[in-house]
């Protein structure tokens, strides 16, 4: 088995499959841990798979006003989440051919497109809470964009390109690179962006059933059956994609496959899962340690992320840090 070399095509298929198959497992593990931290038994680790299987077996009910956008939204969003793993270092330290299709900003645009079509589908449903969530997610999405842009600028200034593979390689090059202030600032800013984008405390209580406090979760309220399954699966994939970028590009770009050997690529899968779960543990602890911000205080959180990202660029551009 150690002697088998994979082609780039096969490795890229592995990258997508790793995200598609393992994303519900990661969600399940984090939810289980959260339950334990709150003194509950928590759901089973495999519960998200059972939920998806149940939803896929159910029929789809459409709201009265819903049209093709309502049906297409979850499908397009799911396809977007399938594309992003092709662009980022999921399993390998070396760039794969399709990794050059898009940079960090490109990946951000595709994730943004997914969020947009889901919001559009929610808006077409006519449900007041779904529309509320749609409006809120677009508003806060727009506020987080400047931070994403400045993180991209930081990567571009460090690596003279904005490909995620190159930022990861820069971090691996030396300790000086890994702890340089601009890199640390960009990493923390991206951590905050992920916190906001995955609907975590202090931005949103992801497990809440209180509609008035919802942002992203409210968009799914009118969907049912297989469409809801796709949205939930997509949401888990988005979480894993963002965790993967955080660990494999900024925080811990080690443990990736350095060759095309099947064994190396297979070994990278549990390593990725372990690192992503590590991020999940941090997020679960934050979830249990802080309270949710009031809706109009979320701008302060976004301002914090922007501050870090902007300082990263300033330190690099004006101070060569």
């Amino acid at each position: 088995m150690a002697g088998i070399d994979l082609t780039p095509v096969q490795i890229q298929v592995f990258q997508v499959l790793a995200i598609v198959v393992l994303a519900p497992l990661l969600s399940g593990a984090i939810e289980h841990l959260e339950g334990r931290l709150q003194g509950r038994r928590g759901p089973r680790i495999l519960q998200p798979y059972y939920d998806l299987a149940k939803l896929f077996r159910k029929e789809t009910l459409l709201p009265e006003d819903a049209g093709w956008v309502f049906v297409a939204g979850p499908l397009v969003a799911f396809m977007c989440y399938l594309v992003v793993p092709l662009l980022i270092p999921v399993l390998t330290a070396y760039p794969l051919p399709l990794g050059f299709m898009g940079d960090i900003l490109g990946g951000g645009f595709i994730l943004g497109l997914a969020g947009f079509v889901v919001a559009l589908a929610a808006a077409q449903s006519g449900g007041p809470y779904a529309q509320l969530g749609s409006s809120r997610s677009m508003t806060f999405g727009a506020l987080i964009e400047p931070s994403m842009l400045f993180i991209t600028f930081t990567v571009a200034l460090v690596t003279t390109t904005d490909l995620p593979y190159f930022e990861a390689a820069a971090s691996r090059a030396s300790l000086g690179q890994a702890v340089r202030p601009a890199h640390l600032l960009a990493a923390v800013a991206f951590f905050l962006v992920v916190l906001g984008d995955t609907g975590r405390i202090p931005v949103e209580t992801h497990a809440s059933t209180l509609e008035f406090g919802m942002i992203d979760e409210a968009r799914l309220l009118e969907h049912s059956g297989p469409l809801l399954a796709l949205l939930k699966w997509g949401s888990a994939m988005k979480q894993m994609i963002l965790y993967t970028i955080l660990v494999n590009v900024f925080v811990a770009p080690w443990g990736l496959a350095g060759s095309r050997a099947l064994s190396a690529v297979l070994l990278a899968i549990p390593v990725l899962m372990g690192k992503a779960f590590g991020v999940g543990v941090v997020f679960a602890v934050i979830d249990n340690s802080f309270s949710k911000l009031r809706l109009f205080k979320i701008t302060e959180f976004m301002a914090g992320a922007f501050l870090l990202a902007a300082l990263a660029v300033v330190v690099l551009y004006l101070g060569s840090g």
């Binding site: 051919p97 000086g176 300082l311 300033v314």
Partner: protein, 239 residues
């Protein structure tokens, strides 16, 4: 098209991109610690509770002491260890203890003293920080051994601490802002003039002690007269 097909099948070497080691470990770590000092200053600007500001000041001072130890260890300057210990005792323990005691006596926790919204203050502070970097870049200080970003960050700490004094209208913020300004100066001092004689370092710290006593008296007098820590009531000298 043929090249794309080749790439798609097996033509790409499995080689990770190579990068230069980048800045030295000394430079990176020094700048990272200095950034912690600056970010703490931003946190002070935002903090709602007066005692949170005091805690943040203690944390910032701790980061400055760590910086002093790191610079001392890397450059072999024995006197800087003494300055680091003195700074730790005075800034992390004594001054925060004095301020906490005063706050406890005043029975005031939350002082709504933000003159502007937090997000606006943060944006202004970012602009001020950029200004600090631009100003420092104009100075003819160039050395391959100096962590170049540190001077800009130290200057940004000083300017943001001025903002803290200007944009928060309570006496604790004014005191903490002034003390943290000293931390900014210390950071610059450790980087540019690490070999400064011990006596000068001690004098600078003694200045801080005097400032702490003076601010303590002012806080006590102001609270005794106005029953509040807000400076909004200080308007008798207005024309």
């Amino acid at each position: 098209m043929l090249r794309l097909a080749t790439l798609w099948t097996a033509g790409v070497p499995a080689v990770a991109p190579a990068f230069s080691p980048g800045p030295s470990r000394y430079s990176s770590v020094t700048e990272a610690i200095t950034l912690v000092v600056l970010l703490t200053e931003f946190a002070m600007l935002r903090a709602g509770l007066s005692r949170s500001q005091v805690r943040l000041y203690a944390f910032q001072s701790f980061a400055v002491s760590v910086l002093a130890v790191f610079v001392a260890a890397n450059n072999g300057i024995g006197e800087l260890y003494a300055v680091a210990i003195l700074a730790f005792v005075l800034k992390v323990v004594v001054v925060p203890a004095i301020l906490t005691r005063l706050l406890r006596d005043a029975y005031v926790g939350l002082v709504a003293s933000h003159r502007l919204r937090v997000a606006t203050m943060v944006l202004i502070a970012i602009v001020v920080s950029v200004l600090a970097f631009i100003v420092i870049k104009q100075l003819p200080i160039r050395s391959p051994s100096l962590p170049t970003a540190t001077m800009g960050i130290a200057c940004a700490v000083i300017l943001v601490s001025f903002l803290l004094v200007i944009l928060r209208s309570d006496v604790v913020s004014q005191a903490v802002g002034t003390f943290s300004l000293g931390n900014g100066i210390d950071v610059a001092n450790f980087i540019i003039a690490a070999g400064l004689p011990l006596i000068l370092g001690v004098v600078l710290l003694f200045d801080l002690l005097v400032a702490a006593v003076v601010f303590g008296l002012l806080i006590r007098a102001h609270h005794g007269r106005a029953r509040t820590l807000s400076t909004e009531t200080l308007e008798q000298l207005r024309g």
